[in-house]
Point group: C2
Chain length 142, copies 2
Amino acid sequence: MGNLNVSDIKVTELLKIEVSGGNVFRCLKDSDIGYKDFGEAYFSFVEKNFIKAWKIHKKMTLNLIVPSGSVKFVFFDLNKNFREIISGRDDYKRITVPPKIWFGFQGLGEENLILNIANVRHDNNEVERKDFNLIDYKWNKN
Amino acid sequence: MGNLNVSDIKVTELLKIEVSGGNVFRCLKDSDIGYKDFGEAYFSFVEKNFIKAWKIHKKMTLNLIVPSGSVKFVFFDLNKNFREIISGRDDYKRITVPPKIWFGFQGLGEENLILNIANVRHDNNEVERKDFNLIDYKWNKN
């Protein structure tokens, strides 16, 4: 299989179910497109305007969901294409990211929370990091 | 297998990893005690002081994690034992609840978010609900 590119990232609108006293927000089912396997789930917080970049996973497929605040994700593939996706409580979706795509993200809201449901467990051996400046993307630094 | 009771609910402290610009909070790995299978993950919000009660799952094992705010969970088993567990960002843990235990919960913080990672998909046929008043528990109504 060749490398996937940013057009292979899948964006899925997710249902928000109105419930008295607090709504229910769907995330992921094992029957959904985008679900591969369950390895690990973890939360990442990102402060307003803070940029976390860049990272690439060699094996992990990510399912990224933002239930609080809003986050701008930027993806960069090995063919040098960029793709920007904003996700958050008011624009609620799941972003399924195949392996071998660079990504970074920036907090847009006051309190920004990302859930990643990944098909493999976190393992530093399958992650590479690159300094913020080493991919030429114009982040909006407020 | 006989019915499980509230002492079979497993509470696991979870690691919070300090990261510049926003911390990482562990949730669940497929190798963790408490993990059975992946069926569905979903978020429930609960407003401050609001009580959502009562519900029982016939088949679902729940893994409950509260990354924002604070929530009081009350569990009630078929042997009529109660158990109260508070979980939240400042008291961060995973609560693994086997099937056939009644539960309800109340929001304690300003913004309270619960993630449930369940071993089966949501299915109304495996859920029963009971009115708030039909289990004799003294909720704190502020």
